[in-house]
Symmetry: C2
Subunit: 408 residues, 2 copies
């Protein structure tokens, strides 16, 4: 008998018919003798509907009131799933985040979980109940309802699994696992049976379609065994996210090719190479709550260097504006920038022990005539910025070059 936490996303509970399907799946796990805690999201579309209502009243809805409101989405689903389970003859009981005391800080709309009081859940499990918990929400010390931010239900699932020391946390979604790359671009893309936490973190662009990165981090911290599964397919075992590297000899060196075209790149030319200069450039950008992704600075010539970084495209214009006084102030030579870029990343823990991955990647792109604009690397990832028009070509070529279509 295992204790399993399952989380079902919005598309898995988008109608009462689908909720009945979820109930049947839960019932099958229960019939195998397992204890079940089930975390649910709001019915697909409901959170957006509520936010739209709020925006009819306030352009920027007050966060505390917004949280009170959007948290009702999960509250409805949890009750519906409990009813569906009872209808199958199971004992079930639902709880809001406040009721099971998912204590968070008071950062409305993006609260962090501080602790979970699991006593109530353990009692219900001992009495043979399936416990259904509203995802995405908690309560602060003062009793205010908080939410964990978009996709926060994944985080709720992992946090509950950690607090209960569950045997496995299963994230049911509309894809059946993590793939070597996006199958829409590379039809030969293959589902990974396992992937490490570090790889998941680096493969944000692939993984975030499947699972909140924050939930992955939390799973890593508490060593929660995390599995991504499809709620629409019965047969697949999904992808298991492990916190140990696969020790088998046959380990593939590369796990996947990630990519995105959400970024813009900015290069400041002729930056005087002196201490504090990076902070002078990025300080105002950080203060404006703009996230910087890649940062590249090469060795200097004649006391000056070029300083490049990428930001989200939606922050591109604002960032350029913020830089104008900075460029003047530090007496840089100028700015070069562009938002028609794509970032393609080769990810794999195997890189650590396999030399030549980077050069193989560069050669592949060269053979396709694709010019490389920026490069940055970590221990398990090589990210390459190219012209966005070559993105699909680059992804397909790299996927093939590293043999990712072959079963690992």
């Amino acid at each position: 008998m295992a204790l399993i936490v399952q989380k079902y996303g919005g598309t898995s509970v988008s109608s009462t018919e689908r909720i009945k399907n979820v109930a049947r799946r839960v019932a099958r796990w229960r019939a195998l003798g397992h204890q079940l805690v089930v975390v649910v999201s709001a019915m697909a579309g409901e959170t957006n509907r509520l936010i739209a209502l709020a925006r009819e009243l306030q352009a920027h809805p007050e966060p505390r009131e917004l949280d009170v409101m959007v948290s009702t989405g999960e509250q409805v689903t949890m009750a519906l799933l409990s009813m569906a389970l009872m209808e199958l003859g199971l004992k079930a009981r639902s709880y809001t985040g406040a009721q099971v005391k998912i204590l968070t800080d008071s950062a409305h709309t993006k609260a962090r979980i501080v602790s979970i009081d699991e006593a109530l859940i353990r009692k219900d499990l001992a009495e043979g109940r399936v416990v259904v918990v509203a995802g995405f929400q908690g309560v602060d010390e003062q009793g205010n309802i908080t939410t964990l931010g978009r996709g926060g239900s994944d985080t709720t699932g992992v946090a509950l699994a950690a607090a209960l020391k569950a045997d496995e946390c299963q994230i049911y979604t509309d894809v059946d696992g993590v793939y070597t790359t996006d199958p829409r671009i590379v039809p030969e893309a293959r589902r990974l049976k396992t992937v490490t936490f570090e790889e998941m973190l680096e493969m944000a662009s692939l993984g975030s379609r499947v699972l909140q990165i924050r939930a992955v981090e939390l799973a890593g911290k508490y060593q929660v065994k995390l599995r991504v599964l499809s709620s629409f397919e019965e047969e697949s075992d999904g992808t298991l996210i492990t916190f140990e590297e696969d020790q088998t000899m046959e380990q593939a060196s590369i796990s996947g090719i990630a990519f995105n075209r959400d970024e813009a790149k900015i290069t400041i030319l002729g930056v005087p190479d002196r201490p504090g200069i990076a902070y002078q450039i990025l300080g105002p950008i950080g203060d404006a709550n703009i996230d910087v992704d890649m940062i590249v600075q090469n060795v200097s010539h004649d006391g000056t260097t070029d300083f490049s970084f990428t930001v989200h495209r939606s922050d591109y214009a604002k960032t350029l504006k913020l830089l104008e006084p900075v460029v003047k102030h530090i007496k840089a030579r100028g700015v070069e920038s562009g938002d028609k870029i794509a970032k393609v990343s080769v990810v794999g823990v195997g890189m650590r022990s396999h030399a030549g991955i980077a050069s193989a990647a560069f050669r592949t792109l060269a053979e396709e005539g694709i010019n490389i604009e920026m490069i940055s690397t970590s221990e398990i990832k090589i990210s390459i910025v190219i012209n966005e028009k070559y993105m699909e070509l680059a992804v397909r070529a790299l996927h093939k070059a590293f043999g990712l279509e072959q079963p690992g």
Copy 2:
């Protein structure tokens, strides 16, 4: 400066436009220097939408889960109204029933309020906030979310006014007060400036369109000054429901003509007149959770009497079936019954001091050729059962006979 509790019903908050109107009205009261606590219902239609969803999963939704679910309706409205108030520059904060600790018993879907912890509300009021509270809901000792039953938001409003010792509880609805009778039947019907609690209770058929009877009872118990107002008209002062009789000399003897055609009458003929017989008849009916309204038993002849009562039409067939063995057992002569009846009631605290009201009512009906089938009286009400086809005629004739179209 007064402390005022306002309650807005579902039609008053049925869209964000209407919620803005409510906010503007609250702001005007606030501008006069008053402290405001505002109780809101779910947006019109929302509670029914949620119940329909639940019924897709369970024919009879489990009460605890149903309460968790339908309570979200008010939770959404309270946040929207808070946002609308902030947008007008007011300080506002919303609370669920659980958050302000409206403690109830655990009778899900029809819970009773046990106590309200008003400390949080008082603190917010002292800090200049408008406090918005979700109507219709509470929380039991174990932290389960409960609801107070249909129209329970009125009860929440009155209970808050009682706990806070508010100067007035204003119930905003889609009619602007209590009328001498239904204006759809008698166009000359007049809005009452005041009506006593007892009259409200007796005028259920008129009053219940406006206000939950249970809320009226609660207001009477705690002597809460209760006013019914329209949320769509600005000018009207509505109807004040008082717990003291009007002591002026010019007091009208009659306040209104109530009526309904929801009932059916049943007469058991030749009932042996002996102790315990009424219980033998009505016991099985009460056990079946059927409410009995009027009960009439006249003096006996030759040791037998006729025993009549009315039930809701929807319980008519079931009641007749339940009576079959009873009639045999008590050896009654038979049953006479009919569901084509109407009950017309003349209501007024003035009756107590004015003789001849009953005979004036009977004369009026006689003049119109309307036969009286049953009569029952209380201190402030005369109820008359007639053939339902005469109902409108009887209401109009009585309204005129007692001069109710004249300003009181």
